[in-house]
């Protein structure tokens, strides 16, 4: 298994030298959404706290890095950590309100959506951050400014983000923190009775998850060169973040990656083909159908099912 993973990493590292630029772009989206999914996985998958407003953290991180770069001349390589820190701060506020006052299930979902919407409305209406026009980043192609002439550089940054987050989640899973998260997902009262400070553990998960998501915001901003409030703070992006780990297997290390490899190409292909045929938005219907299929047939996601399949038939 370890050898297989190593092989996969080597193949992914070599890939951009053998394929065309379109495929590289698709791979960048796969990695980036796998990274965001992995960040969400910590609080949404392992701890079972369904945040449906993770776009807020992408937006905060992206805006922070872009504004700091434009107005203070701060390199996004530093700005990304500040953006992550601000996202973590917002995550701490949302988490404390939700966890301290016992908002569970749908109520926590609504709380997270509400905060993302607040961010969106603020970004839309405050001219100092670009207002409804959004923020545009001037292309300089300077690597110090997180800008690259060669798409392959973005490819490697996205790959590093995905692998880094995955290594972090793997480390969480094999330590006490991960065992506590998994237990909290299943029964919080039992956890309290067993000496687990559930509020503290959930807060740690939320802060870590929002921090990583915020860091991703910098990549989003400096890869697309624009930040639109409706796009970065909107519900559709939150859904994009959540759907991959759920389809791939929430609360598993490989789930978000597998989910992204299934969904991102599908989204990309259907988006380009359907849009060409004048069927804008049809890819959302494909998402819906796929989500229903997963809930009905693979309620734990694709990765656990795949693992069962591989174990069930000894080689």
């Amino acid at each position: 298994m370890k050898l297989l993973l190593l092989l996969a990493v080597v193949v992914l590292a070599a890939l951009p030298w053998f394929v065309g630029s379109y495929l590289i772009t698709v791979m960048i989206f796969i990695f980036f959404y796998a990274y965001l999914g992995q960040a969400w996985n910590i609080v949404g998958g392992y701890a079972g706290q369904l945040s449906a407003g993770h776009a807020a953290f992408v937006g905060i991180g992206g805006y922070a890095a872009a504004l700091l770069s434009a107005h203070a001349g701060l390199s996004p390589w530093l700005g990304m950590w500040i953006g992550g820190g601000l996202a973590a701060l917002l995550g701490a506020v949302i988490g404390y309100l939700g966890f301290r006052f016992g908002l569970r299930g749908f109520y926590f979902v609504l709380l997270t959506v509400a905060f993302a919407e607040i961010c969106r409305v603020i970004a839309l209406n405050v001219d100092a951050v670009g207002g409804a026009l959004g923020l545009y980043i001037t292309f300089t192609g300077n690597p110090r400014q997180f800008q690259f002439q060669d798409n392959r550089a973005y490819y490697y940054v996205a790959l590093a983000l995905m692998l880094g987050a995955t290594a972090a989640v793997r480390a969480i899973e094999t330590h006490r923190f991960g065992a506590y998260l998994t237990a909290i997902r299943q029964d919080e009262s039992a956890c309290e009775a067993l000496g687990i400070d559930t509020l503290r553990v959930k807060m740690q998960a939320m802060v870590l998850s929002s921090f990583l998501t915020g860091v991703g915001g910098t990549f989003y901003a400096f890869y697309l060169f624009s930040l639109q409030p409706n796009a970065v703070f909107g519900i559709p992006l939150s859904v994009e973040i959540i759907i991959r780990p759920i389809v791939g297997g929430a609360g598993t290390v490989m789930g978000p990656i597998l989910g992204s490899f299934i969904l991102s190409p599908l989204a990309e292909i259907s988006r380009s083909y359907f849009a060409q045929g004048g069927w804008n938005g049809l890819h959302l219907i494909v998402y819906g159908v796929l989500l229903i299929a997963v809930v009905l047939f693979l309620p734990q996601g694709a990765y656990p099912a795949l693992r069962r399949l591989l174990r069930g038939r000894p080689a």
Partner: protein, 244 residues
């Protein structure tokens, strides 16, 4: 020195007095039975002791410390562990992983926690089921698992909420033996139990609650002969049976 000292403990739910100025004291190593008809307030007492509810009045001293206002996880770490009447295993985890989560409270390193969990699982007689998912266990095994998790937090006082309920005669016998061994190992036990045979056999002393108030206490023999207890359980006419 007493391990647990409860004085004037009171809890109301709206107009209902669930527990009324209860005094309770336990010595180290003691096994105390808490009995009473349904709705007497026994589980409320457990919830108050373990921090799941906060009392309206009264004091709870555990090991010389006032624990009123502490969170359940803090009380657990002080050495008071409880089980739930309706068992709450982590259904998607194996038996040993369930216990490991509890053991992590004392052994932060996973390897140590696992080692400790295996030992506890053996001790409660679940060794053969260690790898099974908790969601698929029989009720008797789930009760054992509930007990095993509480034990794995290495308590000095164990609160057992109806660990015999729903078990058949053979299973009850095994559970009585298990609880006896645990107590003999130095862990004090406070026991809520409806199975009279079990509670009479196990308890050093018994406290009887009815409508939230303590109506009797003493050795099992004394309590069984107390007319107030018979009245509470069966009604007044059984205290003075009509002459034939």
């Amino acid at each position: 020195m007493s391990l647990l000292d409860v004085s004037g403990l009171t809890k109301r739910f709206g107009g209902l007095l669930a527990v009324g100025s209860l005094d309770l004291s336990m010595a180290k190593g003691e096994m105390l039975g808490l009995i009473g008809p349904n709705g007497a307030g026994k589980t409320t007492v457990f919830n108050l002791l373990s921090g799941f509810l906060s009392p309206d009045e009264g004091e709870i001293r555990f090991d010389g410390r006032n624990v009123v206002g502490l969170k359940p996880h803090q009380i657990c770490r002080l050495g008071m562990a409880r089980t739930f009447q309706i068992v709450r295993p982590f259904p998607q985890l194996s038996v040993v992983d369930n216990v490991k989560v509890a053991a992590l409270a004392r052994h932060p390193a996973m390897a140590h926690a696992l080692e400790s969990a295996r030992a506890v699982v053996e001790r409660v007689g679940l060794g053969a089921r260690a790898g099974a998912l908790a969601g698929g266990l029989t009720l008797a095994d789930r009760k054992r698992l509930e007990l095993a998790r509480a034990l794995a937090t290495e308590p000095s006082l164990l609160l057992l909420d109806e660990v015999m309920a729903g078990l058949n005669a053979t299973e009850i016998e095994a559970m009585v033996r298990l609880v006896t061994t645990i107590n003999a190992g130095g862990i004090s036990v406070l026991l809520i139990e409806h199975n009279m045979r079990a509670v009479m056999a196990l308890s050093h002393r018994i406290v009887v609650l009815s409508f939230g108030e303590k109506i009797s206490s003493g050795t099992p023999r004394e309590v069984a002969a107390d007319r107030r207890v018979i009245e509470a359980y069966l009604g007044e006419e059984y205290v003075h049976p009509p002459q034939a």
